[in-house]
Symmetry: D3
Subunit: 282 residues, 6 copies
């Protein structure tokens, strides 16, 4: 809790063990490994990438057995080569085997997201644009996945529907205008919350600039349209580009001068990093 990891991490780990261990536990390990047997385990990034969740490996191990000795050998956010050992753990062989899969599943997924984020961040290096995530996250893992985005050098968009206003097309169905919608939002949330409004055209943008919105989301615009939008905004409020952004298109978007580019792919489709645990009897 005093680290950057979200408060609910321990519950995620507990549930992961519940689904893996069920009511009978790891019958293979209980049958074949004596309780007194000792080993050393190395957690390894088998592919190169950007790490996220190294301390989660430690949490997973100690959750099963707090007598294990755990050394953290690499930091979250680090870029590592293939076959880098990130954690060394020693103690009960049973405990190491029982913890292995949950630890790897979490670490591989988060490092996959961090690695993907790092690729986007590197692609826009030298521009003023920041890369952010979206709400297109894995149900139950949002806070951890947004943590991984930060470790990859990205910034976080709002955590959920509760901590910032984002007025999209669908929210305008019942409002007389963009101006009315922004005013309604500001009246509800006051000045302690950021208000953002989505626009699809420069005409809509003109209306949005005439409100108290803090940020404008420029949805599915081409780089040419984005450049025109940035010029029209002229620094009066913040700008965000969004919509089907890929590694191929992100650089051109960044060069239009938008402040932020949000990328759903980071959390809904980035592949896991290849990670493993190597065990040696001691």
């Amino acid at each position: 809790m005093t680290s950057d990891l979200p408060l609910g991490t321990i519950d995620i780990i507990a549930r992961a063990y519940e689904e893996d261990l069920g009511q009978r536990g790891d019958v293979t390990t209980l049958a074949t490994i004596p309780g007194s047997h000792q080993s050393v385990a190395h957690f390894v990034a088998r592919a190169e990438g950007c790490l996220a969740g190294v301390t989660l490996i430690e949490m997973c191990l100690l959750h099963i057995d707090d007598t294990l000795t755990v050394e953290i050998l690499a930091d979250d956010g680090a870029l590592v080569d293939a076959n880098t050992v990130v954690v060394r753990a020693s103690g009960s062989t049973r405990s190491l085997l029982i913890a292995e899969r949950v630890a790897l599943n979490l670490f591989g997924r988060l490092s996959g997201i961090a690695t993907a984020t790092r690729a986007f961040v590197d692609a826009v290096a030298g521009t003023d644009a920041t890369i952010t995530d979206t709400r297109k996250t894995t149900p139950g893992l949002r806070a951890l996945e947004k943590f991984a985005v930060r470790m990859g050098g990205g910034m976080n968009h709002r955590m959920g529907l509760y901590d910032a206003v984002l007025i999209k097309d669908n929210h305008l169905v019942a409002s007389a205008s963009i101006q009315d919608a922004v005013k309604e939002a500001r009246d509800l949330v006051g000045t302690d919350m950021v208000v953002e409004v989505e626009v699809d055209t420069l005409d809509q943008l003109k209306l949005a600039l005439n409100t108290s919105a803090d940020t404008v989301l420029l949805d599915n615009m081409t780089p040419t349209e984005l450049s025109a939008a940035v010029a029209m905004v002229n620094g009066t409020i913040r700008t965000e580009a969004s919509g089907g952004v890929t590694l191929e298109t992100v650089r051109a978007i960044a060069e239009t001068g938008v402040d932020t580019i949000s990328v759903g792919w980071l959390t809904h489709s980035a592949p896991s990093l290849d990670v493993a645990m190597d065990l040696t009897s001691t």
Copy 2:
């Protein structure tokens, strides 16, 4: 519970809403949409693929508002073209907007897994091999992801460490032999649970054939080695191939005559299917 969906699905949905709504709820919607406003929403698969979780959309919608009207227009397991409407829902605009993201995040992810599975199943069509998943699943979502694999035409490997024995290399560190390890496992679990043992070589396979194991996992073998293994086994026990299987390699593996091919990628790295909710005011 009386459907194929796992028992804990409702808790997964509840937690997804908790992380999206927090303590203040959807401030944008509450501010801009009157409580009495009505709309119709279409949930659409924007890309072609294999569906999994259509009824989850319904569960997500009714979880927020059980007065919504929901029509299911496509079945789990169906192969659909791009832009197929799978669910039509109508009622409170607020409710539809609040439910949108959680429903899409679940549906997109599961359909991504089903679509990936279907591709592997199609790739081995005409052989006797079945495609199965692994335990390399998203923490907290295993049962749903394994459901998606079934919808894609795959079979499920064990659900966790508790419902089948799988003796790997690491489990042999403390046993005198493969035969001893299998016997220890059988003594613990009896005959009501399947016992599988991993072998890396034909020499190990010979030992494994001399046990009460039900299945042998042939780890990281080439098609040539697999063919030799299948010949040696000669139908006495079941065979499973595993290790870095891809869409490119799976056909050749299947043609060796193995009974099962397990593919971790299905659940740890398959991209989400592109899905969306279209809203129309009524």
Copy 3:
């Protein structure tokens, strides 16, 4: 969830019944009232005040017995005279008696907060100042208490430590300067979250104005100091006055031109509104 009430309200009600009913339930009612006995109950505000939580009464009643008939006769936020009936419920006498205390405890407390807030809001009427709450709330009830503040005409300050930055004196112990601290915060949270910084003197205020902070908290300043601060800020960022504000002092503070006045007393010490349930056998 589609109303303004926080998501966790149902859990608060469930826990309240758990602590009141224990494992044996309402033994008095079970012993003395036959299961078939019917009554009508009127929930009454015995003192004049501002209402908050009228729909909570309904939720509490239906939580115990969803066959009760409940009519809501007054709205949250309404100012009512003493002895106003706000809810009329009819059905099983047992259910009404079992639900009575939990419903009244919640309704009385929230209406006490709304009534207190309304008094402060009325006291600054005609000025541009808004009244906000603080994080000095009852553990477990924060979202409901902040809802009550809104019903009383106040605005909500941040919900917790997670949804806005507020740099206080204690946060400067490790920073070189206010400017550094604001920059560190902005680097972490980006532009999707509001950053506020507390100052105790006009000298500190000058430094704060030279940052990207959105709001400045003017802590424990006299009206004279506040006026000077407002003049120095000159509309460039938002201003908040805080520190021991009472009904006696709030008007003078508002007249200094500050944008916001935060009042901890609203949630940590406002007395409950006097409320009751009158029962008539039918």
Copy 4:
């Protein structure tokens, strides 16, 4: 659990942190305070009062960080002057800042209740009357608030509807008589639970004395009526006075000779004690 604090205290603390920290945690502290920074914190009662919940401060601190050093300098139940340091804690500055508000919110509220209780207990000093609480407590905090009442020198009335019978007017709607109602209750709960019956008049009291009730609640009676009731009871069963009791009226009530006086105000409206945490960098 082996102390006087209720079993569920740890859950109350956990929920309080959940609502304060959300999914992102204390962004201000994480941004501005390095993880290695150390401080000492003094928890202070700024006003004079009676303490309750000093050990809760310790529980709150250790819940966030069990490496903090915590010294308890004052006991629950103690009467202290303004500006008394009650707890001294040292260690990670981050941990101290994250824990501050939850610890103070709990400690301030409970000490407010203890202080209020102590005032009533002092007001009846020299009489035989004891002061007790009611079920008009904050939802979710009842056991802690009743603990605070004990620390202030009061006694606890029943914890809930489950651990004692209290037959009120409303329970008589379905019974032929007070005698019938008491008999029905006694038949259900046997002799392992106390049975109390409310009466509004001396006529009703006469009926109540003709039952197996252990206690009679004299509701909203004047001191004169109470004296007559006490005389009529003549020590045969216990007597309790109840109904709108204030600090101004409690002495006269106590002098009528009633055994117990119950005061709802202690838990539904007593203001918090003014408490604070002072931090010094080390």
Copy 5:
């Protein structure tokens, strides 16, 4: 909650289904029974006995499928012959099969306890003694088991350590005397809770009579000793006999004139009633 069943019953049922259904559910039923198949089920007491938990069968069925039709044909507390149908349910065959075992396990166990209790109650018929349970209950099921005791005609001893005082030998290790211990207890709990004290000899009993205890527990005394004790007490406080009471010994104990006889065997060792579900396809 408005019935005699404890508040936590629904959680017990939910947990029972969790342990029976796991993450994959009832694979046998899902595989072999189409979702549309309909049946009628009869829940039958195969042996004669006293019923407890008939409405639990309904709760279990509706928990799985609230579209089932359920008729309750016998009441809790009823004495029935072998092969009595107690519940008739119809609807989805899948739902009936999935619910069967959980419903039967609960109903059989509780009816076993009720049947055992009824045997003891009948054995003391004509005396003034009541039969009560103890705290020797199944972990997690205490409130339900105590409900079953009531259905069998018994009374409940305290629900737990929290709702009555029972001073045993072990509690005297730190007290100067029985009188001191009773006084300490009374000072803590006041008069809203019953105080009972255990004595092993008539000498101890003499001391106990000189306290404010409400009840004396006569532990492991012979009928002769009990008669002497009852004579010594002479109606001044209540008496309870306890210790290894069996169906063979209970009558003689009751005839000594003790008020209550507590029997641990009712809840720790009574065998289940033989119950079953008969299914007919419709």
Copy 6:
């Protein structure tokens, strides 16, 4: 978790304490025993039997107070004489008294099951039959009760409906034949789960032998019928006898040559072992 005890054991213990301690805790102990008082406690099996749950005593003690010193003096599975001390614990008298009943209730129940199982296992000694449990377990305690069966020398049947297929008569209502039903099951669960089918007659058995079932359950057959069935099976699949098996009948059943005999009585009706805690002040 790294032991043979199920994952959820800690929650079972926590709930047991919740139901015993409620919100006020052990008022007797808090009143009569000073916090500093120390004792030594001996947990004793008063009757001879087979132990299960000795380490649960330790878990229960440390759950209340992790400063207690606990020595385990006997192993689960051990056969002990009456009056054997199995655990010696020392430390806070309060903690020992608070933990006593929960620890004994769990230990006595599990040892009762182990003792009963051991009796059945001994009764079939010298035959090839193994004794197994059923799903007729106490709701909420299944995994612990099946652990106790293992400690008594029995084997576990499936843990629930989710980890093995068992096709009973009722499952055939919607299938054309036993062969169809087995095929449907195998198609759903694949080869990673055991499929068992129940038969009542030798005719049905003949059909079952013509399927891919792994085991056949011979329901309610006489020893003569069982012998004929075993002969017909002739070792091609496994055989299980079931239905009203008692200590009197189990030997004859075992001598028919069946592989497994399942006994519901072990978990639904076995009496608790008599256990106690003896306390000595230190």
